[in-house]
């Protein structure tokens, strides 16, 4: 299909997408998750009329606003990058992949951007209930946006609902509902969105914890922490359940990713789950060295989690590369041969069509369809390349899982302490809550590494390799724009973080414009002591 592959172009294109996606991800969890925290606080305000809850909602909305704008800006980069850097992919999969993106724009982005204007500028101009409805619609819009883009992403990992059309040389959708409701897509959406909720919860816990350490804004901090920890606890439990679902679907459709997640080289029945281990440095597919320097393994659990059967066979990297006749697994070389047969048949089909030879075209099409399933393999040169980077994925997976379980314990501890009114006595826990915020990001980014690096060497699992998906341009163009966007986004990221930290330091009474000073209510919690003395280095402003 293309004359030659420029690996510099492929690698820099991947690098640019990874870089922009990771920076985009810095902002998305707070955009998605904080809206619910704001909505909860505003709901309580509307129901009780307690002005403190209004103040809490407005404070988190202010921080949300700082974060939201740059999330929008980094998002458009990714959307257009499919066209600019992945033009071949955009054509070959556009018939399926474009639809969720357009649906996201029509159904979610407008909802979000319209009602965020009411959320920001509507205080005092619209009724309380309409304002609250707008806040919920922003939350719903952000989640709906996540649904559509994750449906698109899930399809890349778990392609369903389409056929390949040799006339147009692309995949075409034949079942919208199976794309939208694919179990992989539903699970991916639930898993990702709950990770956003957990991160946002830690943001609230961290900021609130800092106020308690500093003995400032105590009522706001305590109430926010109750919301943050409760929301975080519920969603982090749900996160582990959806994580289990993710592993199950990976096992069904992406056995190479599962093998990398577990550093499983030789498949086995009743395979154990490696709780932790150190992979043998330099270990390669096909060599006979030990897999691990050491490992702690839970017997049979991998078979159970992957196939819901303690005795199921889980293929390892060697089985997938070299085949396993007993288990009916074709070798990668065999798949590559069949893939090349498919590609040659496709070329023959095109030639026959151009020559007006209908019979030859039909014969070529028949051969193509027999081997279509392996079409993507026809582009590969090296059988070993079907296994993604094992150590990177193995360790990333463990970072994500271990932190995920630790977060549940931390949320329980924080919630218990804050409800019993003793949290201010446990500064170590407050600091741990602050530390957990970046760790939650680390966990989620590790999760993305597992999902996306683990999908390699494919953009569409098994059907289109990454190296075939780029635009047909000079690598220098991508390198130049890589550095341009890196410089731009790093500056904006630092600016955003500084603005956010400044706003947090100033606290909730700095509404509206900054240079003019505070214009909101002067204090929140003179009566709220939580056991503190009424002394402060800040002129008694908050405590």
């Amino acid at each position: 299909m293309t004359e030659h592959i420029d690996m510099a172009l492929v690698n820099w294109s991947r690098g640019q997408f990874a870089m922009t996606a990771f920076i985009h991800w810095f902002f998305i969890p707070l955009t998605i998750g904080l809206t619910y925290i704001i909505a909860i606080a505003e709901t309580i305000y509307v129901r009780t009329g307690d002005k403190e809850w209004e103040r809490i909602a407005k404070f988190w909305a202010k921080l949300f606003g700082i974060n939201f704008a740059i999330g929008v800006g980094t998002g458009i980069i990714l959307g257009l990058e499919f066209g600019t850097n992945w033009a071949n992919y955009s054509w070959i999969s556009g018939d399926i992949f474009g639809a969720p993106l357009a649906a996201e724009g029509i159904m979610a982005f407008f909802l979000e951007s319209t009602f965020i204007a009411v959320m920001f500028f509507g205080w005092g101009k619209v009724s309380k209930r309409f304002h609250l409805l707008s806040t919920y619609l922003v939350a719903f819009g952000a989640s709906l946006s996540a649904l559509w883009i994750l449906v698109a992403n899930a399809w890349m990992n778990y392609p369903v609902g389409m056929v390949f059309n040799p006339d147009t040389a692309r995949h075409e959708m034949v079942d919208f509902w199976s794309v939208l409701l694919s179990p992989f897509a539903i699970n991916k959406f639930l898993h990702t969105i709950t990770s956003c909720f957990v991160i946002a919860s830690f943001f609230v816990v961290a900021v609130s914890g800092w106020y308690i350490i500093k003995k400032r804004n105590l009522l706001l901090a305590r109430r926010s922490m109750v919301i943050g920890a409760s929301f975080g606890l519920v969603t982090s439990i749900f996160l582990t359940l959806t994580g289990d679902g993710s592993a199950y679907y990976v096992a069904q459709k992406q056995p190479a990713k599962l093998a990398a997640m577990e550093a499983l080289y030789d498949g086995e029945e009743g395979a154990g789950l490696v709780a932790f281990g150190l992979i043998q440095p330099g270990k390669q597919v096909g060599d006979d060295r030990n897999d691990f320097v050491f490992k702690i393994e839970i017997p049979r659990l991998l078979s159970m989690l992957g196939y819901r059967d303690f005795n199921a066979f889980v293929p390892g990297a060697n089985d997938l590369v070299y085949g396993n006749e007993q288990q009916g697994i074709l070798s990668a070389s065999e798949k590559i041969d069949r893939g090349r047969t498919a590609l040659n048949a496709l070329a023959g089909f095109k030639e026959a069509r151009a020559a007006g030879d209908a019979a030859a075209a039909d014969r070529a099409r028949e051969v193509f369809e027999e081997n279509y399933y392996y079409m993507g393999y026809g582009h590969l040169f090296d059988p070993e390349s079907i296994i993604p980077n094992v150590p990177f994925i193995f360790y990333s997976f463990r970072i994500m899982v271990m932190l995920g379980f630790a977060f549940i314990v931390l949320f329980i501890a924080v919630l218990y302490m804050v409800v019993t009114g003793t949290i201010h006595r446990h500064r170590w826990l407050l600091w741990l809550g602050i530390l957990a915020f970046p760790l939650a990001f680390l966990a989620s980014m590790a999760g993305w590494v597992v999902a996306e690096v683990g999908r390699q060497p494919w953009t569409i699992q098994g059907l289109l390799p990454t190296m075939m998906s780029t635009s047909n341009i000079n690598a220098n163009a991508v390198i130049l724009t890589f550095w341009l966007f890196l410089a731009l986004l790093m500056v904006l990221l630092v600016a955003e973080m500084r603005i956010m930290l400044t706003a947090i330091r100033k606290g909730p009474d700095n509404y509206g414009k900054d240079p003019g000073g505070a214009t909101g209510p002067s204090d929140d919690n003179n009566k709220e002591t939580m056991g503190y003395n009424h002394t402060s280095k800040e002129g008694g402003r908050h405590v």
């Binding site: 909305a61 202010k62 458009i76 071949n88 054509w91 018939d95 639809a99 965020i116 400044t502 706003a503």
Partner: protein
């Protein structure tokens, strides 16, 4: 419902949808036009803040419409998305940077700790307003004038210049549309601000800017349209799908599709009437004429671009590589599915109108910039 339509009918329907979104987008570029007038209309920090806040309450509509246009083209005409974005690479990347800068500028501008200072973020708004709009206009001009790309039998496209889109600036015809859109956006921006800000001195300056920029706009617009009507256009045979050059193709399209001619003339008259009432009658309602006028004019220009067997993204390098609504579109199934999603558009327009009206009941003035209690001020 949509299943009963032929593939061609669905392609035509989706070209209509995209034309409507593009027309809405050009109207909403009043935000960008207004951004280029911040320093002209606002001589003090307070005045500039009012101008920026007035625009800041609308920027996301423009931004979202832009995103929806791009995503809609991806879904409905993916070959365009792949060919244009993947080929005119530098042009679209520069365009992208302009909009990334805008996205943070309003929110960060006066925030403490913003690293770059207020003036830098205001400069971002100027860059977005001037460069972003100009590049968009020049890039859209290539939809008529053509670009140098080759499309393989597998529908993979190969750009034929290493300047990857920067060469569009070498054509006076492309540049003229870029400048026409830029000055039109400035006219609309001044009209919007005139309507939205209740401060006499700003209104006086905005009125003057409407007139000055309208004059410049008309020069470039007339140049573009005159050349468009006189030039040969990229046509294709609806049966064989073979592309060929047709003398006065776009003039023929206007004549063979009278609706587009009526829309075009009505649109131009409305734009001019909006300018007239602003200038002569000192009305603040000029935007309500020039805005819909812009919409109708762009709609007509998109009709003559995509309909009547016309190539909407022609290749000047290889005629047969040119893109049409027939060879660049998604499949019948996908267009059908997308057509159901398009039924949400009236709902979207409805709630935008309602929400917009709710927060725009009161015009922006100095008092509005002082409101506290969580009220968001840029």
């Amino acid at each position: 419902m949509f299943e009963a339509l032929t593939h061609l009918q669905l392609q035509q329907y989706w070209w209509l949808i995209m034309s409507v979104v593009a027309s809405g987008l050009v109207f909403l570029l009043f935000v960008q036009g207004g951004q280029t007038l911040i320093g002209t209309l606002g001589k003090t920090d307070g005045e500039r803040t009012m101008v920026i806040n007035s625009l800041g309450r609308k920027w996301e509509f423009t931004f979202t419409t832009l995103v929806v246009f791009a995503a809609g083209m991806f879904a409905s005409f993916p070959l365009f998305y792949a060919t244009s974005f993947g080929g005119a690479y530098y042009a679209w990347k520069i365009f992208l940077v302009c909009f990334v800068l805008q996205s943070v500028a309003f929110e960060f501008r006066r925030k403490k700790g913003n690293l770059l200072g207020q003036k830098t973020y205001e400069a971002f708004l100027y860059i977005n307003g001037f460069l972003g709009v100009f590049i968009l206009g020049a890039a859209v001009a290539t939809f008529y004038t053509g670009s140098a790309f080759y499309r393989s039998e597998y529908n993979l496209s190969y750009w034929q210049t290493t300047s990857y889109g920067l060469e569009i600036l070498l054509s006076p015809h492309n540049v003229s549309l870029g400048l026409a859109i830029l000055f039109l956006a400035r006219v609309l921006g001044a009209q919007y601000l005139l309507n939205n800000i209740n401060v006499a001195v700003i209104r006086q300056r905005a009125r003057r800017q409407v007139v000055v920029n309208a004059g410049i706009f008309l020069v470039f617009f007339l140049y573009f349209v005159t050349r468009l009507l006189l030039m040969d256009g990229y046509a294709y045979d609806p049966v064989t799908l073979q592309v060929f050059m047709e003398p006065h193709k776009y003039l023929n399209n206007f004549l063979q599709m009278p609706v587009s001619l009526v829309f075009f003339l009505a649109g131009v008259v409305l734009v001019l009437y909006g300018i007239f009432v602003t200038w002569i009658r000192h009305s603040i309602r000029g935007i309500w004429y020039s805005g819909p006028g812009t919409f109708l004019t762009v709609l007509a220009l998109f009709f003559i671009l995509g309909y009547n067997n016309t190539c909407f993204y022609p290749s000047s390098h290889d005629l047969q590589s040119s893109l049409t609504i027939q060879n660049a579109s998604s499949s019948h199934y996908t267009l059908t599915a997308m057509s159901y999603i398009s039924l949400f558009v009236p709902v979207v327009l409805g709630y935008i109108f309602y929400a917009w009206r709710s927060i725009d009941r009161r015009k922006i003035d100095e008092d509005d910039m002082k409101e506290g209690g969580g009220h968001h001020v840029y």
